[in-house]
């Protein structure tokens, strides 16, 4: 669903310096709105209240927030990706009036799954009842955010979208500013829940306006999950893959035990968050420029095939896709390289800005390089989705999950100087695999379009012939004129 990408590209093409900045800024929100919102929110207590107030409560708050984010993403991502596909199908079939019902169904399912995991999990933590209640509410709201994330790209009202996230952050800032100077964990959680609720509500309002419609058929997500189980599996693997190194690292000797019973490795968590945020501009470029171009080229190829074009025209359309991917790799690669280079060459500058210790610089370098490759994997997976190569995407995410788990475990054995190398190695390995698979897919684009990914060919069931008949055979004597021949 490159809908918002096209709207942003229109903005980009207005040919002014501001339109370039604005389009990429909105692209950033569209790509990583929930992430960016959370990271901004995590920094707000320190920025607004000063580092000297409520350090222990803030650490608990950040650890709880990270735990809620990881848990809800793993639980809801399979549903979210299937909702993305279902919405895309409904848009293609021009049945926009069913999108709202599809969303509501998916959201209820995601909420149920989240609560099924969050409530028992929170009961294990040493939290006061108010904090536990706010944490449970927050889990539900974050799960809602994950379900709204795929809808963001369908909403072409990018300014309103950015405003929704800004309003959430402003609400959080206001709650902190007018709250007590040393807020309790419950207060921090309540403030963040309020902020998330404001953002979610604003996006839901945009959604209702964009897709007013019927509310029957909310169970559409159930058959869609069956139909697109490969997508759901891939999304599940992806979500676990991007968190498994953090979970492992919470077992490192350097981890911090919090009063609630949660664990954290602030240096690793912060480095990886910073590195991930650093890749967002490149992802924004991908959405605004590359994905829109890729969408057009793929539409061109399938349009040529469906329009009964001759083979040469189809070959030319196919070659255009290759050229577009190469150009996208160049554009996105340049942005990624520039941002990552800044983190690798001058990590101290960033750490100073965020008030983190310089000793973590090496971690930031590894994480920045790893996040760059991981962003590359994500973008290459999107390219593979255009060829409907679901099994290849599953293979990529499964590879990353296993490599990240094994690599992080290995680096944990090797000790502190190696932390982050496992993640980097896993991301590099997966990137190489994804690159090879995309390269093969591009070379075989026509074969995939006509045969490999053609549902009419792939899903065609051979018709079984009727059962053969055997009968007892009775023959008579041959006619006289044939006897003796």
């Amino acid at each position: 669903m490159a809908g918002i990408g096209f709207a942003l590209r229109d903005l980009l093409r207005r040919d002014s310096l501001w339109s370039v900045v604005e389009s990429h800024l909105h692209g950033l929100v569209a790509v990583a709105g929930p992430w960016a919102f959370t990271i901004v929110s995590m920094s707000l207590p320190t920025l607004l209240l000063g580092p000297e107030h409520g350090g222990g409560e803030r650490a608990e708050f950040v650890a709880l927030l990270v735990a809620i984010f990881s848990l809800t993403l793993v639980v809801t991502n399979p549903v979210a990706i299937v909702l993305t596909r279902l919405t895309s199908d409904l848009l293609y079939e021009q049945r926009e009036d069913r999108i709202l019902a599809a969303f509501v169904g998916a959201w209820l399912l995601a909420l149920a799954l989240t609560m099924a995991v969050a409530l028992p999990g929170l009961s294990l933590l040493a939290l006061d009842p108010a904090a536990r209640a706010w944490a449970a509410l927050l889990a539900g709201l974050v799960a809602t955010s994950w379900m709204l994330a795929p809808m963001l790209s369908t909403l072409r009202r990018f300014r309103a979208l950015t405003a929704a996230f800004a309003a959430g952050s402003a609400a959080f800032a206001a709650a902190l500013w007018w709250g007590p100077p040393s807020p309790s964990l419950a207060h921090l959680l309540a403030s963040f829940a309020l902020a998330t609720a404001v953002t979610d509500a604003a996006i839901v309002a945009l959604l209702l306006r964009a897709f007013p419609g019927r509310t029957d058929g909310i169970d559409a997500i159930v058959p869609a999950l069956r139909r697109y189980r490969e997508l759901a599996l891939g999304a599940g693997l992806y979500a676990v893959g991007i968190w498994i190194d953090k979970w492992w690292m919470w077992t490192a000797p350097e981890h911090v035990d919090l009063a609630s019973g949660l664990r954290a490795f602030p240096a690793y968590d912060a480095s990886l968050f910073i590195a991930t945020v650093a890749t967002v501009p490149a992802l924004a470029v991908f959405v605004v420029r590359a994905e829109t171009a890729l969408h057009e080229r793929c539409s061109g190829l399938f349009g040529a095939i469906g329009g009964h074009a001759d083979l040469r025209t189809i070959w030319a359309a196919s070659a255009e896709i290759g050229r577009t991917v190469a150009a996208a790799a160049r554009d996105v690669g340049l942005v990624l390289a520039a941002v990552v280079a800044l983190l690798v060459v001058a990590p101290d500058l960033i750490l100073d800005l965020l008030g983190l210790p310089h000793a973590d610089a090496y971690l930031l370098r590894f994480c920045a390089l790893g996040a760059a490759f991981q962003a590359g994997v994500l973008m290459l997976s999107v390219v593979l989705f255009y060829f409907d190569a679901r099994s290849l995407v599953i293979a990529i995410h499964a590879t990353f999950l296993v490599a990240n788990a094994v690599g992080t475990w290995a680096t944990l054995q090797l000790g502190l100087p190696w932390y982050g190398v496992g993640y980097l190695a896993a991301a590099m390995l997966t990137f190489v695999l994804a690159w090879v698979l995309v390269d093969r897919a591009l070379r075989k684009a026509l074969f995939l379009a006509f045969v490999g990914r053609n549902a009419a060919v792939r899903d065609a069931q051979p018709h079984a012939p009727p059962a053969d008949i055997r009968t007892p055979c009775t023959v008579s004597a041959p006619p006289p004129q044939l006897r003796g021949t």
């Binding site: 095939i305 469906g306 009964h308 074009a309 001759d310 083979l311 189809i314 075989k444 026509l446 074969f447 006509f450 045969v451 490999g452 060919v457 792939r458 051979p462 018709h463 079984a464 012939p465 009727p466 059962a467 053969d468 008949i469 055997r470 009968t471 007892p472 055979c473 009775t474 023959v475 008579s476 004597a477 041959p478 006619p479 004129q481 044939l482 006897r483 003796g484 021949t485």
Partner: protein
């Protein structure tokens, strides 16, 4: 009996004498070819038949005929369909390339040598190969692209792709299909049935023969040329320098190639009437192998019909002409009705009948009734629906057939046996039924009139001529009666098949493997 096998009560698992290969007909579809097949089997009660039936994809068909006691088994093959192929079976790209080269050559030239090589290559892998390897692999797609450049450059890739898949799938499906063992393989058409017969001859060394009713390639040619789903490239054909539709040509060439292979492997090549010979020769049949065994009728049954005199002969019934056939467009009933209107101006007391079911194409039947009203001949034209013809031939003066296409219409023979002359359009075997075959000696003369297609004036003139000239009508009726007796007696025709089967059945197989090389 030359092989000493028991004459009675033979077990069903013994090798069949004749494997009859039928496509889209007997025993699941009613019609002329199916009736002929049933008749053939029933009249060779001393032979064991095994049916290899090519069926359309879909639900299991229903038997429309009671299988005769001498049918030992029915093997089904789904048309143009390959098995999936073993998932674990990896064929070397080189082998796939070679297979597709031979397939490509076979589609282009229809040489039996290419068929033989394909049979040899595919043979050892028959149980593992399938669609997965032969159609869905990158090597197969490369083969499609080569074929596209050779035969379809510039045409719709989509249509060429699906055409290629269907044709190659059908070709390879025919070569991978189960083949019942038999002493003789007899196909009743070219196409996929003919391909299987050719494969059987090449693979087993046993003789194969073909009896063609209509010319299969011709029928496919007409279908393909009219196919709306292949019309996307047709616009060029309307320009002065434009080429014909390459994808349609691919389809037609493929069916011609299948026919060539079939004709090369079959001896004799039998048809129902001489008119088919030029078309068969054009599609590669060796003229020396051609022969005619027409459809016959039960003479005694029709000769027993007693004629009821008409008004001109002193009787009480009016003179009448009858079109015997279904009320469907291919019978061109509307031309018959227009001819009747013209004829009634000359013979106003005559009655015109359409004897046949009208429920197959209700809109067409309704249009025919409307035309009757429009022509103002409602009182002289009667649509009877299905009737017992035995009760009618005695009261018919002239049988009329205005069909746009026919093979060998039995109504002309049935009417002829009852002494009724015919007027028919110049399609199928009508000319030789009415005017006599080229080898008819002594010449018997004319049994009616042959007219051009869709020409009401010519048909009306012929009807008026026969109705107004009673001696001429009687002479024509007598000619028809004698011709049917001499050439179209069912019993003698079945004896010809019996002799032919006997000769082929007892042929040594090994020598036959060389045929067609």
């Amino acid at each position: 009996m030359s092989d000493g096998r028991p004459a009675d009560g033979a077990k069903g698992d013994e090798i069949a004498d004749v494997c009859l290969i039928v496509e889209g007909a007997y025993p699941y579809v009613q019609g002329g070819v199916s009736s002929w097949t049933q008749d053939l089997i029933l009249n060779q009660p001393h032979l064991r038949f095994h049916l290899l039936v090519i069926v359309a994809p879909g639900p299991a068909p229903t038997l429309r005929y009671k299988l005769p006691a001498n049918v030992c088994g029915v093997t089904h093959v789904v048309a143009a369909e390959l098995p999936r192929g073993r998932w674990s079976w990896r064929v070397s790209p080189e082998l796939l390339r070679i297979i597709h080269e031979f397939v490509d050559d076979l589609l282009a030239y229809g040489r039996v040598d290419d068929l033989r090589r394909l049979v040899l290559i595919l043979g050892p892998h028959r149980h593992a190969l399938g669609r997965r390897q032969l159609l869905d692999s990158p090597e197969a797609f490369a083969a499609f692209q080569r074929l596209y450049e050779r035969a379809c450059a510039g045409a719709s890739t989509l249509n060429a792709f699906w055409g290629w898949r269907t044709l190659v799938g059908g070709l390879l499906g025919a070569l991978l299909a189960p083949l019942p063992p038999a002493r003789v393989y007899h196909t009743i058409s070219t196409g996929y049935a003919g391909l299987i017969a050719a494969r059987a001859a090449v693979e087993t060394g046993r003789p194969a023969l073909i009896t063609e009713h209509g010319i299969y390639t011709n029928e496919r040619r007409l279908e393909i040329l009219a196919a709306p789903w292949l019309a996307v490239d047709d616009s060029d054909a309307l320009t002065i320098e434009g080429t014909s539709n390459a994808v349609k040509q691919l389809w037609i060439d493929a069916f011609v190639a299948y026919a060539r292979v079939c004709y090369a492997a079959c001896d004799p090549i039998i048809t129902l009437f001489e008119g088919n010979h030029p078309l068969q020769v054009e599609d590669g049949a060796d003229p020396r192998r051609l022969s005619v065994i027409p459809n016959g009728i039960d003479l005694r049954r029709y000769e027993a019909i007693v004629r009821v005199p008409n008004a001109r002969e002193g009787g009480s019934r009016p003179q009448c002409v009858a079109l015997i056939g279904r009320v469907v467009p291919i019978k061109d009933i509307k031309t018959f009705l227009r001819a009747c209107a013209l004829m009634l101006r000359q013979v106003p007391d005559a009655m015109c009948y359409v004897l046949g079911p009208a429920d197959e194409d209700p809109p067409y039947a309704a249009a025919c009734h409307a035309l009757v009203d429009q022509l103002g001949i409602g009182g002289r034209v009667v649509f009877t629906g299905m009737v017992n013809l035995m009760e009618w031939f005695g009261k018919i003066d002239v049988v009329v057939l205005t069909s746009l296409s026919e093979a060998q219409p039995l109504v002309i023979l049935e009417g002829g046996a009852a002494g009724v002359p015919s007027i028919a359009t110049d399609v199928g075997a009508c000319r030789e039924l009415i005017l006599g075959r080229s080898d008819e000696a002594p010449r018997l003369g004319t049994g009616g009139r042959v007219t051009p297609l869709g020409n009401p004036a010519a048909i009306a003139a012929a009807m008026s001529e026969l109705l107004l000239d009673e001696p001429l009508r009687q002479r024509c009726g007598e000619v028809m009666r004698r011709r049917v007796r001499d050439w179209y007696d069912k019993d003698s025709l079945h004896r010809r098949y019996a002799s032919l089967y006997e000769r082929l059945r007892t042929m040594p197989g090994d020598d036959d493997a060389e045929r067609g090389r």
